[in-house]
Symmetry: C2
């Protein structure tokens, strides 16, 4: 079993290298496995697709969900060549795979100038202290829409 | 100026309602503005597109970047009907708009069963204490790929 995990992680690392070779984006790869089979794989595509959300993990999650025709990755395992950034970590919690394997970590990423720690720090700050200003207006007009959702009979929760 | 902010936020809230009406996904909308004009808008599309990352903010960011043909939202303002979840907050930091306006907050979202706080809490936990297991393997095989990135002459940073 441990050999399988290494097999899939090696594929994620191989994807990271292929993304570099193709000038697709940053040096990161990810693979999603269900029932012992790869159902989706991706490398970072931020700069080649002009999509700042096209990290390897987010892209692999999107592809796996398309493949499974669902928005939940039940019983899936994600292998990523590097510890997920906060965006990808959030995506993982929304997609809910059963486990995640990673190889490099945020310190390794920072050593090649991907400063995830800055974003982790920003998330923990009070909203009025962040580097990007977050300003609140019109709460009273947004709440009725939430109430409409709450009262909706045929809603699909996620 | 403050009137303009309210105008764009009302559009974000209107998008949130239209997403509910169309059964597209959760009750959230977002608008991205540059030079006083809307360049992208979106509502949540998680359940209708089977994409757990298709939150209003992520979707609006992707569309705005397509529109501007870039992966950076310089001088743009994001209006979102609700405080961004950690995934969207991460996406915002990668896209780097100049400011963000929000209406509802994470407490309002929790009141209609969107528990962003759970994810915020998970992000702050040590990696070995998370609800989704995060396990580290093969660091020694991932690092050479990072080194290849570091040494790459023609890389496009982001």
């Amino acid at each position: 079993m441990s050999d399988n995990h290494e097999f899939f992680m090696r594929r994620a690392i191989e994807l990271a290298q292929s993304g570099i070779d193709k000038n697709a984006g940053g040096p990161f790869g990810a693979v999603i496995v269900k029932d012992g089979k790869i159902i989706a794989e991706a490398h970072n595509e931020v700069t080649s697709t002009n999509d700042p959300t096209a990290h390897a993990e987010v892209t692999a999650i999107r592809r796996a969900c398309k493949e499974l025709d669902t928005f939940q990755l039940d019983d899936c395992t994600l292998y990523t060549s590097c510890e997920p950034c906060p965006m990808c970590l959030g995506a993982i919690y929304w997609a809910r795979p059963k486990q995640v394997f990673f190889a490099g970590d945020r310190i390794d990423a920072a050593a090649v100038d991907f400063d995830d720690q800055f974003i982790y720090d920003e998330l923990e700050k009070a909203i009025e202290k962040r580097e990007i200003p977050f300003l609140r207006i019109l709460r009273e007009e947004a709440i009725p829409v939430f109430d409409n959702w709450k009262n909706k009979k045929d809603k699909q929760e996620y």
